[in-house]
């Protein structure tokens, strides 16, 4: 009962933005109904390309050539300049490189820890240790969903529930998982989304019967918001049965599209690189945002290529490069890219290898790594932030996860540090006690 939309309401009450208190009182109750952003939004939806395991930034998007006589750690793969912007991109990402002018590189990322699970959790929830609402749940809480037949937050090839959990936010904002990392992704679907024991027509009659009973039950019990909520959610579930299976069914896509996305093309695991059918994930992500889902996360891993750096990195890049390029291409072609924010990155990066020293093993580096964004109102063909000459440490334009979170919120028209929720006696926010910095320098 202590959970309220208080903070949001306060902001709105004081804002002269045209929404009054009344427009909001309905929001005190958890609902997926679409809500206007609090300020001018640049992005309406997010696709997060989550690269778990710590992608090697120095061999993908953070070019560190040798600078002196003595060899030092840096990029061991050739880089080339691409597009009008001349952005440096590694030759391991040839397809993505064709979209260089859409990319906004964040080369100065840094995080608190090189422990996978903790940093991965912090990337998603702002907290390294405790279960807290995930970024997608916060966005869904702030903005609702554009499509009443679908959840606001979908997480594909996901790992732990704590990664997509709504935690203390009402669970209607929780991510809907589709497939778990390590399982076969080519067939992953929403649990119990279909059955064939009755026709849809009979199912509807059956539900009508149930809902009459539910309404009578409710009317004998006065005003009970929970029971009312169940009645609504039975309807959303029913509509999802109608909508989601079609969305998940790629058979309507042309062979050319399936080929561009490389759906089902990944043959087998290579070292740490798992079969994630990343092409199917990216294509599903496009279909979900087209259908109005607010936040879609897709996952590929693991980029944690310790002992066979080159082999496993090449496999990871090969598994993800073309699908990402196809996704960017389709979003642009459909006019969706301008208000869809695409975010790429993992829980940290890796130190560079030193050319010629014969080593093929890398560890973790949380002090400097790379994310990139595209669309959603950020500059294209732009590199923000910098690591030192060995790529070991972010030295300029530093962006922490909390700054990344703040920036995503701000781009979506949500108050970066003021989207709060009261839980167990205090107000919580995604950006934690420190708060996050909105990186306005990257705005188009």
């Amino acid at each position: 009962m202590n959970e309220t939309f208080l903070s949001r309401r306060k902001i709105l009450q004081s804002a002269s933005s045209g929404f009054g208190y009344l427009a909001f009182s309905g929001l005190a109750q958890a609902s997926l109904s679409q809500r206007p952003p609090l300020h001018q939004a640049r992005a309406k939806r997010v696709i997060f390309l989550c690269m778990s395991g710590g992608p090697a930034q120095l061999d993908t998007f953070d070019y560190k050539p040798q600078t002196g006589k003595k060899p030092h750690p840096g990029s061991i793969y050739p880089f080339h300049q691409h597009g009008d912007s001349g952005l440096w991109i590694s030759e391991l990402m040839p397809e993505t490189a064709k979209h260089a002018d859409k990319l906004c590189l964040l080369n100065g990322m840094h995080a608190d820890t090189g422990i996978h699970a903790q940093s991965f959790l912090q990337l998603h929830t702002g907290d390294r240790l405790r279960e807290r609402p995930s970024l997608g749940a916060w966005v869904s809480y702030g903005l609702g969903t554009e499509n009443q037949n679908l959840p606001g937050f979908v997480s594909l090839n996901t790992s732990r529930p704590s990664i997509y959990s709504s935690a203390f936010l009402p669970s209607i904002y929780s991510g809907t998982p589709i497939g778990a990392n390590g399982e076969e992704m080519s067939k992953a679907t929403i649990a119990n989304v279909t059955s064939s024991h009755f026709s849809n027509d009979l199912k509807r009659k059956q539900l009508d019967f149930v809902q009459v009973m539910n309404r009578n039950h409710l009317s004998q019990r006065q005003d009970d918001q929970k029971l009312e909520g169940v009645i609504q959610s039975m309807e959303l579930g029913f509509r999802m049965q109608m909508t989601a299976p079609d969305l998940l069914d790629l058979s309507t896509e042309s062979p050319a599209t399936l080929e561009r996305y490389r759906v089902g093309a990944q043959k087998g695991p290579v070292g740490t690189c798992r079969v994630s059918d990343f092409g199917r994930q990216c294509l599903l992500a496009r279909r979900f945002v087209e259908a109005g889902v607010r936040f879609v996360e897709v996952n590929h891993g693991s980029w944690d290529q310790h002992k066979n750096h080159r082999r496993d990195l090449e496999a990871n890049c090969a598994a993800t490069d073309a699908p990402i390029a196809a996704l960017l291409e389709d979003l642009e072609q459909r006019g969706l890219l301008e208000d869809t924010l695409v975010v790429w990155g993992g829980e940290f990066g890796r130190p560079g290898l030193t050319p010629g020293d014969g080593k093929d093993e890398t560890g973790h580096n949380a002090n400097g790594f790379t994310f990139w964004m595209a669309g959603g109102g950020v500059k294209g063909g732009f590199a923000y932030g910098k690591t030192n000459e060995t790529g070991a440490r972010a030295v300029e334009g530093k962006v922490h996860f909390r700054d990344l979170h703040a920036t995503i919120f701000d781009l979506m028209g949500l108050p970066a540090n003021d989207l709060k929720y009261r839980h167990e006696g205090r107000e919580h926010r995604l950006t934690g006690p420190e708060g996050g910095r909105v990186v306005r320098e990257i705005y188009a």
Partner: protein, 790 residues
């Protein structure tokens, strides 16, 4: 049952009269250093002081004071650099200066941007500044600045915020106007508040509502139609007698332990696998089920709560009079071994991560206090310091935790020993059993051979703990990093309590003493927390709304005197959980209807004052169990062992391990990250940490489960077949029988009509009569009436 309680006149209720704010002193490491060296500074040569003024002070003022002075908006890392005492005392990371090992001085390391500390955070200062600081420390750090006692050492708490740290005081029973209303003493506490606030409570619930509520609350299963009829008749005769008898019958049922054991398993974050180690590896715990059975058995035997806790924390150290008891005591310590571990690989903090979980399950599970933050820094809110944390950590670092071979994946966790049981039978794997899940080389993914187990397959084993060979105190891990060690802290308990602490002998871990400290009856939280957990399961919310957080940021009790009254009663009744539950469910308050008149609703909108009973949804287990019960498919007997009892494998490589079962849900295989599909849709916790309160979400996934899950579809067919097999004369009698079975009532004429209408539609497209009826059966199972308890 005690009739009168603590009603001695003149016994002051100190509890609620306490008004002064409480100050708690937080110890800061390194404080004594100051006394050793302070005199030396008094004699500093003038040129040395000049050096400070010229070279050191300006740097501190320009680059450090913004965050590290008394004037700072927020003091970074609790470190003050504007006094010499502040520099010597240091902050969370330890003293800034080390006058003996100059290069180990934190201030130097930070200025050089070596290690974890990098100051100032923007960019490193020039090497000449660093060398000035080094020189200055070499001189003995002469410093003319005045000593200002730092204010941050004492923390002031808001009035009442440390309520749960105050001793439990037995309150006098409040007087009430309506003397007919109370049945149990606890009712007087509820009624007096209702009368104060002029709220008239709801009526007592009708017998059908009551028996359904009691059955679900005490056993997690619905009553049969016959039981409803019998109870209704008895209730007409004498409501109090009928309710008491029903309560006694249900408390004696073996299903009681299955219901309440499940509640405790949530607190104990019980699971049969490790869960994702962060790298998607999820090893099984093939022997965890023994702990589950221990818990069910303990609730059924009504093992006193103090004993129950002692067994779980220190069972291996207890005397025993039979091999069975020896087994039980050791199995109980599985409580401390069920940790969801992060991968060992690349994780220097692995051992301390396991300890952190053990501290958490004891502190939040038993005391309702979160100590976890103090691993890295003094707790920001609760009176728990890093010293306290490492005092407790020493108890667990002196303990050997035994989880087994962790799926034979050393990168997740190194293999450990297990308890070999004395009395439990040897159960060999079935003759045709072959392990199909292969073990893979982590880096290459190639199959590798499963190492031979050190025990013969079938040996009765249990997870648990035992004392380490050489118990020792634990050193403070600076910022929670096991590589950066501070001073050792003597093993002990939290310091903010004014209760006697048993001495810990140097030769023992201190777990037995920890359990004594918790269960002496003087600990202010142990009884309160458990009473509140029990209350919360019977009313849908606790007297303290945050059952796992009785700290500064947890909720305050709505009825503090009632909580203390029940806590006293609980301890005086020998910590009997069944007696406590009995006294609550026979009370007037528990028996109130969930339907109330408009005036009551508007006067108590959130039902804070218990003017009525809160309506609750069946949890995942009760929903599945009641579907099986009405379909006639439930096997009421306990299930033996677990489907993974012979399997040390990685769940993530196994695909779906779950198998259909007709036993109660508690016997399903609770794998972390791979929960039983029949339960997963309904807010099952993830079993990673203490959970005293399940979510009650409303998401479309529930609807999809009811529409399409193979389980619901199959059970609807069983229900239809079962109803049709009764050879009833006509359709109407069958519908009546179905309503009786599923909803424990008769349908009204309109419902009869609509049921016939649905059957007609269903017959038009289904192939058999049972299938046609299955449509109606499924509909009734999906109704709110079936899934909610009034």
């Amino acid at each position: 049952m005690r009739a009168l309680f603590g009603s001695q006149p003149g016994n002051p209720v100190r509890y609620c009269k306490r008004t002064s704010s409480m100050k708690v002193r937080i110890l800061i490491t390194g404080a004594c250093l100051f006394f050793i060296h302070s005199t030396a500074w008094g004699n500093s040569a003038p040129e040395q002081l000049a050096f400070f003024e010229k070279k050191i002070r300006p740097v501190l003022a320009e680059h450090c004071y913004e965050c590290h002075s008394a004037d700072a908006k927020k003091i970074g890392g609790k470190l003050l650099l504007d006094t010499r005492k502040g520099m010597l005392d240091g902050g969370e990371s330890g003293p800034s200066l080390d006058l003996h090992n100059i290069d180990l001085s934190l201030v130097l390391q930070a200025l050089k941007w070596e290690g974890d500390l990098e100051m100032p955070p923007e960019e490193p200062l020039s090497p000449s500044v660093v060398s000035d600081f080094r020189k200055w420390i070499e001189m003995g750090a002469p410093d003319p600045r005045k000593e200002e006692p730092s204010e941050i050492e004492e923390r002031t708490y808001e009035e009442g915020s440390l309520w749960s740290f105050h001793p439990v005081e037995k309150p006098t029973l409040p007087t009430v106007k309506n003397r007919e209303w109370p049945i149990q003493p606890l009712d007087q506490f509820i009624l007096s508040k209702l009368e104060d606030k002029n709220i008239s409570p709801a009526e007592t619930a009708p017998p059908r509502t009551l028996i359904r509520r009691l059955h679900f609350d005490l056993t997690g299963l619905p009553p049969s139609p016959e039981e409803v009829r019998e109870f209704t008749a008895a209730y007409k005769n004498d409501p109090n007698v009928a309710v008491s008898r029903l309560a006694d019958k249900l408390l004696a049922s073996p299903h009681f332990g299955e219901r309440w054991g499940r509640h405790w398993l949530d607190v104990a974050r019980y699971a049969e696998s490790n869960g994702n180690d962060g790298l998607s590896r999820n090893p099984t715990f093939p022997h965890a089920w023994r702990y589950r059975d221990y818990v069910i058995d303990a609730w059924n035997r009504d093992v006193p709560y103090d004993r129950f806790l002692t067994q779980q924390i220190a069972g291996d150290l207890l005397d025993f009079s039979s091999p069975e008891e020896h087994d039980r005591n050791r199995i109980a310590t599985g409580f401390l071994a069920l940790t969801a571990k992060p991968a060992k690989a690349m994780n220097n903090n692995f051992a301390m991560d396991v300890v952190a979980d053990q501290i958490d399950v004891v502190s939040r599970g038993v005391m309702g206090i979160s100590v976890a933050c103090a691993r890295c820094h003094d707790h920001k809110f609760d009176p728990v310091s890093a010293q306290d944390y490492y005092a407790m950590a020493g108890i667990f670092t002196s303990t050997e935790t035994m989880w087994g071979v962790a799926g034979n994946e050393k990168l997740t966790a190194p293999p450990t020993d297990l308890h070999v049981l004395d009395a439990a039978p040897f159960v060999a794997p079935p003759k045709d059993f072959v392990e199909t899940v292969i073990l893979k080389e982590s880096n290459t993914g190639k199959p590798k051979e499963i190492p031979k187990s050190k025990w013969e397959p079938g040996t009765p084993l249990a997870m648990g703990v035992r004392d380490a060979k050489e118990p020792a105190d634990c050193k403070i891990n600076l910022k929670g990093d096991a590589k950066k060690l501070g001073e050792p802290v003597p093993r002990g308990f939290l310091s903010s309590y004014s209760i006697p602490s048993p001495e810990i002998a140097s030769t023992t871990s201190g777990r037995l003493e920890l359990s004594q400290w918790l269960t002496s009856g003087e600990h202010p939280q142990t009884a309160r927390v458990m009473v509140n957990r029990i209350w919360s399961h019977l009313f849908g919310k606790g007297i303290v709304g945050t059952p796992d957080d009785f700290g500064v940021y947890g909720e305050r009790p709505s009825h503090p005197e009632l909580l203390d009254f029940l806590a006293c009663q609980f301890v005086e009744d020998g910590w009997s959980m069944k007696r406590l539950i009995r006294s609550i469910v026979t009370s007037r308050t528990y028996r109130l209807d969930s339907i109330a008149v408009e005036d009551t609703l508007s006067a108590d909108p959130g039902n804070t004052w218990y003017s009525r009973h809160d309506r609750r949804r069946l949890d995942a287990e009760s929903l599945r169990d009641s579907i099986l019960a009405v379909s006639g498919q439930l096997n009421p007997n306990p299930s033996e062992g677990s489907i993974i009892r012979h399997r040390d494998i990685l769940v993530n490589l196994a695909g779906n391990l779950h198998e259909p079962s007709q036993h109660r849900s508690i016997y399903l295989c609770y794998l972390r990250n791979s929960p039983p599909p029949e339960l997963a849709a309904f807010d099952l916790p993830d079993f990673l940490s203490v959970n005293g309160k399940r979510d009650e979400s409303t998401i479309p996934g529930h609807a999809l489960y009811l529409y399409n899950s193979p389980f619901v579809v199959e059970q609807s067919t069983h229900l239809a077949e079962s109803i049709l097999s009764q050879d009833l004369p006509d359709e109407e009698s069958i519908i009546r029988s179905l309503y009786d079975r599923a909803l424990l009532r008769t349908p009204d004429p309109e419902e009869l009509y609509r049921a016939k209408e649905l059957l007609e539609s269903s017959r038009a497209e289904t192939e058999s009569e049972p299938q046609a009826w299955a449509c109606l059966c499924q509909a009734l199972i999906a109704t709110n009436e079936f899934r909610y308890i009034d």
